[in-house]
Subunit: 492 residues, 2 copies
């Protein structure tokens, strides 16, 4: 065995343990008994303790020293890069702090869920204060005097900075606002969805949609949860979704979205199983897959035509007056509050609000005590109407309860990446719509597997997208796509 | 912090990690996607690696050295005893072997399930050969020249030996066989159960039964699995059961049985949460709880009278011609093959068969290749009829696939303990039947919590039973109870 083999054997166990820790999160949000929360927090902390110790294990430094990096293949070099990245981060953060974060975020989950159910931010405030404080402490340890927010962002999107994200939003915001206002002000408003949709039948069609988009249920499963998510890597990648009888799209498009994440993990080259690059390249890269599955494919005119027929068959009546009208229905802009239910145009405005607020929280410019008011004020300014309740406002997302500061902007980055990928995909497959109209997404999903998913974390995220598309990353394809699509639907 | 406090803080994480590892087992048997099995085996092995390293962590020896054992409270002394016990075992077994066992048993689970479904022992044989070989290797490492089987047994029942178990069975076997033959030959045969019982309604009544016996569902949950089991300690103790429309007792009494295990774990003094004594004292002690819940309470004339009414209400017809006849129906001896479906008389004969076979396997006197034939020959000799298929014979139990050699005899030991406890309980509560007839088991379960469950692993198992009953452990109460009960039912 060479030093590299020894290192990878050690790493294999580390990755397996990381999978175990991740599955504790799945368990917590789907099947865990309520009263188990305090014990679960201890279990999460104990796993974090183990993982932290392994990331900084002194043997890693010895192995790294013994490896001649000049002789490494690109794959081996990427493995080393990821190991070193995790090690450097872990070396900077005291294990007691990592454990405290694991414990606090595990315990906060139920507090958040209860506060959301009661529309009561005050009951969540102390838990969130603790989490913000701990994450700021972690950011300070990581930043070495640099920007705190950037230090956190880097964990989800290697190499990205708050300033990059700001620049991206600055380029997007005016055109999105203009498009939103034009659409909402148009005389040609799409129909609202007709009828109600029983939860059980929604779940059956969601399962059909999941399989249509290539989700492999022999290595996955679908459950219901408060918040849709995808969890796990390799041979065990699980998704959750939710149902609302009045809004079948919530279930269907949450499912397709999570399937995008799950397929990314399932389609990583099996040679990378339980290795550091055996997972998505970044959260932004991940969102590019979930959003292109959900939107550019799933909400396309061609695919919604197919879905219209399926819904009519399964629920016994048409969800709109015609398949053509249904395309507008699926893509209808609403004056809504909830990010996960937002259309493609307003979605990024929801993210921008969170990005600005969380950046101020981490910078110490905004107190958690003032967060609800700041949210509501900002929301009214951005959207033109008042938040009606906390579960539609500051409590709507689970992310902050999980300590995920720096995560939100990766959603918009993912949309931008998806715009670039969609451009290239359409170029390579001019008759994509013919296939989508038959409910056949395999050309698209094969293309994405080949160009993006199979590589895992072999490349840095921006490089991955550039290799896939042959062009530098730009907001332009996404904005052009949105303006064309919604311009047509709203006859702008 | 004293050395003792440091040791207990370290141990708290170890216990939390052991809970995580245990929950991987629950996940594997209830919700894991089939294709995840190879990755799961790696995850299990990685957890075993961590747990093994923690059990022999050199700091434990330092802490133990620094503790003045003369000053310890009985509780603290018991904690040290359990830590030292785990350490001594782990020191003897190489971690590579522990990991190989974890990996092999995790992988074998699906192999066993598929082989059982196909009634094909040959397809399971190679996996079982590997497991037997690994466990024999482990036993040799533990035994230090002593008896291999005793070394394995000690893990489930501290202090017990194969010879003790043999003596116990020698005392029981003739009287059980005589009782069995008399019952089966009696002219007064109880009625068979009437009707069929839809699975969903069975599960609803099973849940009611679980709550009746005190199972706390805010710290637990009930799922279906191939094999009923209880999993976890402390604040997250889960059970599984199964349904067969033709045999509602399989579901109801499996549930009550697993509730006995689960309540034991849930009722351990919360001060012991995530400590070495914060769990049942032994597998035998555990079975004493599950079996007394299931049999002495659940299959009593008084309680079956209450159950008769519940079944009539819920399923729309009486399960027997009268409540009195139903008592016989529930306790009817059948010429059956399956241990978990066996009546109280024949149950121990099933265990005895397994004990003798696994003792020979571990001693190297029986090859896995010859196991099916040995099982079938022995079964015909003990029961007087031939095994009709492997799923009714050598493949019926999951235990050997999980590497649990030395576990089976603790079932009979548990029955013996349950006999002792039941005697003492009846003495303390002469009108117990009045309560049971109303479906009220709280006096009994409170008594068991007080006398047994709350103590966790504070006492060695035999001492625990002696403290609870005020008498030495003996097979006599169990045999006297069985002879009286079945003598009455069969008018012997």
């Amino acid at each position: 065995m060479t030093a590299f083999d020894d290192l990878m054997a050690f790493q294999r166990d580390t990755q397996a343990l990381a999978e175990v820790a991740g599955r504790l999160g799945w368990d917590q949000e789907t099947v865990m008994p309520d009263g188990a929360a305090p014990q679960r927090a201890e279990e999460m902390a104990a796993m974090e303790n183990i993982l932290h110790a392994r990331r900084i294990d002194p043997r890693i430094a010895d192995w790294l020293e013994a490896i001649d990096t000049a002789l490494l293949s690109p794959v081996a070099a990427a493995q080393i890069r990821e190991i070193e990245r995790a090690r450097q981060r872990a070396l900077k953060v005291p294990v007691t702090l990592s454990m405290a974060i694991a414990r606090a975020t595990s315990a906060a989950h139920r507090t958040w869920a209860a506060a959301k159910a009661a529309d009561d931010f005050a009951s969540f405030q102390p838990a969130l204060e603790e989490i913000v404080s701990l994450r700021r402490e972690e950011a300070a340890a990581l930043a070495n005097g640099g920007d705190l927010y950037d230090a956190l962002l880097d964990d989800y999107e290697p190499g990205a900075s708050g300033q990059d994200i700001q620049t991206m939003f600055d380029a997007m915001r005016p055109r999105l606002v203009k498009l939103r206002d034009a659409a909402l002000g148009s005389d040609h408003q799409p129909e609202k969805v007709i009828g109600t949709y029983p939860a059980k039948k929604q779940m059956k069609l969601a399962s059909k949609l999941a399989r249509t988009f290539g989700y492999d249920l022999t290595h996955g499963r679908i459950d219901k949860a408060l918040h849709p998510f995808s969890s796990g890597s390799g041979l065990d990648v699980r998704i959750t979704t939710r149902t609302n009888p009045a809004d079948p799209f919530n279930c269907f498009y949450s499912t397709i979205h999570e399937v995008g994440h799950a397929c990314y993990e399932q389609n990583v080259d099996r040679a990378y199983l339980l290795t550091p690059i055996g997972r998505g390249a970044s959260m932004g890269a991940h969102e590019s897959q979930s959003r292109i599955y959900e939107n550019q494919l799933g909400r396309s005119r061609a695919f919604t035509g197919w879905l219209f027929d399926r819904m009519e068959q399964r629920f016994g009546y048409a969800p709109a007056s015609s398949a053509d009208a249904f395309y507008g229905t699926v893509n209808r802009l609403e004056k809504g509050y909830v990010r996960t239910e937002a259309d493609e145009v307003q979605y990024n405005l929801h993210v921008l609000l969170r990005f600005d607020l969380e950046r101020r929280l981490i910078a110490g410019q905004l107190d958690v005590a003032d967060l609800e008011e700041a949210w509501n004020t900002r929301f009214a300014a951005d959207f033109g109407y008042e938040v009606d309740r906390a579960s539609h406002g500051v409590l709507q997302d689970v992310h902050w309860a999980e300590g995920l500061f720096g995560y939100f902007p990766t959603y918009s980055l993912g949309n931008v990446y998806a715009g670039c990928l969609h451009d290239a995909l359409r170029h390579d497959c001019p008759d994509l719509d013919v296939q989508l109209a038959q409910g056949n997404v395999t050309y698209a999903t094969d293309w994405l597997r080949d160009k993006v998913q199979q590589h895992g974390a072999l490349y840095a995220p921006e490089k991955l997208i550039e290799l896939a598309t042959g062009k530098p990353v730009s907001v332009e394809p996404l904005l052009a796509y949105l303006e064309a699509k919604f311009g047509e639907i709203y006859r702008l």
